[in-house]
Symmetry: C2
Subunit: 121 residues, 2 copies
DNA sequence: AGCTTAGTTCAATAAGTCTTGAACATCCGC
DNA sequence: GCGGATGTTCAAGACTTATTGAACTAAGCT
């Protein structure tokens, strides 16, 4: 039981760029980039961005393009950036995009939500 | 008589990435990146990539996203990369993408065609 | 076992993308 | 001014994308 991910050599630039050429998905990777002290995030944490159904869709797109890794953890899905794979294949691309993505307003919203949850714990 | 281009501060990352998330358009910017000794190329030179009509479409997309500049020269349209504008706004993004784009097979085809034309001159 | 939490699947819909051919406009050289 | 070269516009078609709600599965708690 694990989700299909492209091998590193099956990650193609047009697909990666198309996957990142969307506000919602750019926000997702912005969030991931700003929290990668811990091992990624769980889909639910992106809730402020859009509906649950739609998140499944966008996370699927990113996974199929090879931008993120999704690991099943019980009922949850732990999402992390495929930094190494991407940087090997397209050096600098992800990093330079992240530099902008981490400053998106929607990313702030998600991160504020995370802090609120942490405070409540 | 000149075509509409977005101001530098109206160039947005999702639009740029969406514009570059396509084989044909990635090939176009690959060609531009490999010939920017002279001042850009003319639409007709991209002919090996696809039909004339379709080129108008793709060049329009790149222009509207702020990736290229299109200057009218008589009946021709001279196309060039907006390197400076893009690099100011999203440092490293264009360069890192170009590094891959210049090696696309379709770019080779276009460049071989250019040499043949030059030889015939 | 029953309830809750987390996410998926499905079908539908609205909107956008890519591609094409036919007809058109515009400039340039002769 | 005519003819060729360069590109545009338009309408149509096939396809893809983004979004949604309802119904579902699967794991974890108590």
């Amino acid at each position: 039981m694990s989700l299909p991910h492209p091998d590193p050599d099956q990650i193609f630039l047009p697909n990666v760029l198309a996957a990142l050429g969307d506000e919602t998905r750019l926000a997702i990777i912005g969030c991931l980039a700003r929290t990668e002290a811990a091992e990624g995030l769980v889909c639910g944490q992106f809730a402020p961005l859009t509906s649950k159904t739609n998140l499944t869709y966008h996370v699927g797109k990113l996974r199929e393009a090879g931008v993120i890794n999704v690991r099943i953890e019980g009922t949850k899905r732990r999402v992390s950036l495929r930094r190494e794979d991407l940087d090997n294949r397209f050096p600098g691309v992800l990093d330079s995009i992240i530099a902008t993505a981490i400053n998106l307003p929607s990313v702030e919203t998600v991160l504020l939500d995370l802090e609120t949850q942490n405070a409540a714990t």
